[in-house]
Amino acid sequence: MAGQTLYDKLWAQHLVTSRDDGSALIYIDRHLLHEVTSPQAFEGLRLAGRKPWRRDANLATPDHNVPTTTKERSAGNAGIVDDVSRIQVETLDANCESFDIEEFRINDERQGIVHVVGPEQGATLPGMTVVCGDSHTATHGAFAALSHGIGTSEVEHVLATQCLIAQKMKNMQVRVEGQLGLGVTAKDIVLAIIGRIGTAGGTGYAIEFAGSAIRELSMEGRMTICNMAIEAGARVGLVAVDDHTIEYLRGRPFAPSAEQWPAAVAAWRELVSDADAHFDKVVELDAAAIEPQVTWGTSPEMVVNVSAEVPDPATADDETVVRGMQRALEYMGLEAGQKITDIRLDKVFIGSCTNSRIEDLREAAKVAQGRKVADNVQLAMVVPGSGLVKRLAEAEGLDQIFIEAGFEWREPGCSMCLAMNADKLGAGERCASTSNRNFEGRQGYGGRTHLVSPAMAAAAAIEGHFVDVRDYDPGSARDRDDALSA
């Protein structure tokens, strides 16, 4: 019999019972909550007279609606100008209070984007099942945790029963072998993968990211990759446990205690796919061939190398694809054949659960240091993923680098990733964004989003148009590093 994949192992460890019809009940270890997808679930519990099954499995924080300017934030919830947004955040607070659920409130230093907060706290552990009413829950798979987004009815189901009705997915392995080029990051890897398999390529699969290029990534880079598994259609992205995983977790507030640590680590070491495990589908990429990526359209699969041109719909062979490309070009205000590096930007957004952790901010700061945001860029903003990321960045002086270069340094939250708060694009405005979705209207009505890595976004802010960060004045960047370490 063939061995088991990492996904098979995680599934088996959480299987409570399976039904004849192929559906199953799986046990949920960690349930993360935020203000947007939980109110109707709590309301449902209340109406049915039900209580949460296990209080210590849940952890909540508001992130989507919170303002990011220091002035508004200093007033706490009262600083949320939009009434509807404020009510939603207050509703989360009230629900967590009445159902006795731990919550990091708006101005708690541990507050932040739920997918940044979980791992940072050690609340996401290898071998767990992690769910949240949010599709980017896939992020947590970087820790070899079986993690995926759920809808609000399922949030209610998990609160009430600690279980989820699920069906086993198929296994896909995406292998990225070899050495990444200088200036090429985890974000470029995942965009390249989506460009290859398409936004529905992973539908019905749990994707395990493997290969030497993945092994070399830090945990933060792995989170960036798993975060966007959903953009390839897969609810689940996974990376096997190794030393990086274990070292990252040591000493985090929710991590196992000193007495439990050795047993936990021993169990975690098993969380890898067996050498003879069967994958239903395998996709291979050569890391060395991956260039910095830029999306040109309104779906993450509409992505090209920074050195390329905006593609021509006439080259596609499928009628539905041709029409989709034409519509995207029109919406984005681009012409086929235009060079990507000629695309000029109005705004730049560095943040979101894809790229708002400390390493992302360091990468961007390295590019921004000693330079100035171009005149045609009206707003370049950096939004750290959590209060703790913000504090660390400030301790390293990154905030000063950004501010001196003309970026705005904001308070943590989802911000312009989906523009539910006041941070949004105006109609027709074009933005280089480190987030994960370039859908029509995603960052504001009529807004135009190009997805890129943090370094690419910072370089685009400085030049006012896209540039290949690999040949972006590397000499002076090195000089600065030397100066910093001197």
Partner: protein, 214 residues
């Protein structure tokens, strides 16, 4: 959950692939803490020519005359015909809530995104996956004849076109059962509380660090 009843529904064709949940219901409407009232803002950015905001009276907003659901012939449609990868993107259950609130009971497409698929069934909406050619043919028939209706029989897992042609479809037995009976799946799961408690105890013994209340 409400029961899924046998229906003879008017079909509306939405000829566009990769319709994401941001398009089905834009984020500003996600601020509501209710489950209802999303219908007027279904496909908001396609339906209206201006930007919508929550709590607004939509009757005075300029309609996009080119958008299919604004055409009088599709008024009252209960069956939405769509292209591949329908419902991709965010996990917002507001998407099926909006479809339901608008009056759609069935969506037919060559493929659906996973989370949307789950969310729809939990709200009594039947999603039917058919091959590309069949969907293409239904698009042509719908566009060609005004008042095109499909008979949707979940019990027998079969569609019937106006010409009497029948098309079989697959649906997993558990979901079918819940839909036909209008079952509350939390209640069903809680009926297995004992099994869950047993599992939980074993799980706690094997990996005590997963529990912080010990």
């Amino acid at each position: 959950m409400k029961k899924f009843e046998h229906l003879q529904g008017l079909v509306a064709p939405l000829d566009r692939a990769n319709v994401d949940t941001d398009l089905i219901i834009p984020k500003q409407f996600l601020k509501s803490i209710k489950r209802t009232g999303f219908g007027p803002n279904l496909f908001d950015e396609l339906r209206y020519l201006d930007e919508g905001y929550p709590g607004q009276d939509v009757s005075s907003r300029p309609l996009n005359p080119d958008f299919v659901l604004n055409q009088p012939r599709y008024r009252g449609a209960q069956v939405l015909l769509a292209r591949r990868n329908f419902g991709c993107g965010s996990s917002r259950e507001h998407a099926p809530w909006a479809l339901d609130d608008f009056g759609f009971r069935v969506v037919i497409a060559p493929s659906f995104a996973d989370i949307f698929y789950n969310n729809s069934f939990k709200n009594g909406i039947l999603l039917i996956t058919l091959d590309e050619e069949t969907v293409e043919r239904l698009f042509q028939e719908t566009e060609a004849s005004e008042g095109y209706r499909l008979d949707v029989d979940l019990e027998r897992q079969q569609l019937t076109t106006p010409s009497g042609e029948t098309i079989a479809f697959e649906v997993d037995p558990f979901r079918k059962h819940c839909l036909l009976e209008g079952l509350d799946d939390i209640g069903l799961t809680l009926a297995q509380s004992g099994t869950i408690r047993d599992f939980e105890q074993r799980h706690r013994q094997a990996q005590p660090w997963l529990f912080r209340d010990a």
